[in-house]
């Protein structure tokens, strides 16, 4: 954590409040230890769920980035062949495990699949620009997701530590009571 003032929320996810003193926390919130533990566990579950969602998004993006890079690579190759008069000879996959040979004469444009059943023909330069900006966007969102995940991780840790502290506090209280009871009995 960079600063002492940590954000109170991030993207609508509230930060876990740090408990300075367990006793004060319990009296202020009017909880006994077991209800406090239930509430905290509940919170923890919510954080964990949000974390799982984020991690899934992250995996998605991390898979997408190499795909975009592949596209950039092949467009770059086509671009470098432009003006040389060379024909590219390639083996490409027709179906799983079946390959055929193709000759690609010097090309000025490629067709990019935009999704939603739309394919558009672009001049190589423009295709490259579009792919590069896609790559930048994906990398930027990945960065944000990683930061979000770190924030969530912190909240999970704070909540876990708080749970352990409330639990310990409770054990301690019970022990005190028991010892008192013994003293009175003797």
């Amino acid at each position: 954590m960079a600063s002492t003032t940590s954000p109170s929320e991030r993207r609508g996810i509230p930060a876990a409040a740090f408990v300075h003193d367990v006793q004060t926390f319990l009296t202020q919130s009017n909880y006994d230890a077991s209800t406090a533990l239930v509430a905290l566990q509940d919170r923890l579950q919510q954080y964990k769920l949000a974390e799982m969602k984020l991690l899934a998004q992250r995996r998605d993006l991390q898979g997408k980035i190499p795909d975009i890079k592949k596209c950039v690579e092949i467009v770059a190759t086509l671009k470098s062949k432009k003006g040389t008069g060379e024909t590219m000879k390639v083996d490409f996959e027709l179906a799983e495990g079946i390959y055929s040979r193709a000759k690609i004469p010097e090309a000025d444009s490629v067709c990019l699949w935009l999704g939603a059943n739309v394919m558009l023909e672009y001049p190589l330069e423009e295709a490259m620009k579009l792919l590069q900006s896609n790559l930048e966007n994906a990398t930027a969102s990945l960065k944000v997701i990683i930061e979000d995940a770190q924030f969530l991780r912190d909240q999970v840790t704070v909540t876990e530590v708080t749970i352990a502290r409330v639990y310990n506090f409770d054990v301690h209280q019970r022990r005190k009571l028991r010892n008192q009871g013994k003293k009175e009995a003797s």
């Binding site: 590219m88 390639v90 490409f92 996959e93 193709a102 912190d154």
Partner: protein
């Protein structure tokens, strides 16, 4: 994090932040381990590809660009491969360095946290 035997040690915000930091570093450490593993595998693959190239008699080999195998002269592929190898090696070196830095930071935090919380805290992997 483990629930102790009920001994009370006051946990300050600073302690909490240290624990958070440790958690983050530990996460990062595991991610790095995975990345390093992947890069090492990559290096092996490059090595294999290099050896195969040396053995082949063909002047033209197929080189994977994007999703297609492009027919390319052998020596051009060799240069490409060398470039990729170097790049991979450099990336691997950076990752290893980062891992070392993280381990050092983790050791530092462990010292601080264990000296305060003794066995009320557990920072080891399960």
């Amino acid at each position: 994090m483990q629930q102790g035997d009920g001994q009370e040690t006051e946990v300050t915000w600073e302690d909490q932040q240290n624990i958070n930091k440790f958690g983050r570093l530990n996460n990062k450490f595991h991610e790095l381990e995975d990345e390093i593993k992947a890069k090492k595998e990559m290096a092996e693959n490059f090595e294999d590809a290099g050896n195969e190239l040396m053995l082949t008699d063909e002047e033209e080999v197929r080189y994977l660009i994007g999703e297609v195998f492009s027919h390319m002269p052998k020596d051009e592929v060799e240069t490409q491969l060398e470039g990729l190898k170097e790049e991979n090696k450099e990336e691997l070196r950076k990752l290893e360095e980062e891992k070392k830095a993280i381990l050092a930071q983790m050791a530092e935090l462990k010292k601080i946290l264990y000296s305060k919380f003794k066995d009320s805290i557990n920072l080891e992997e399960e």
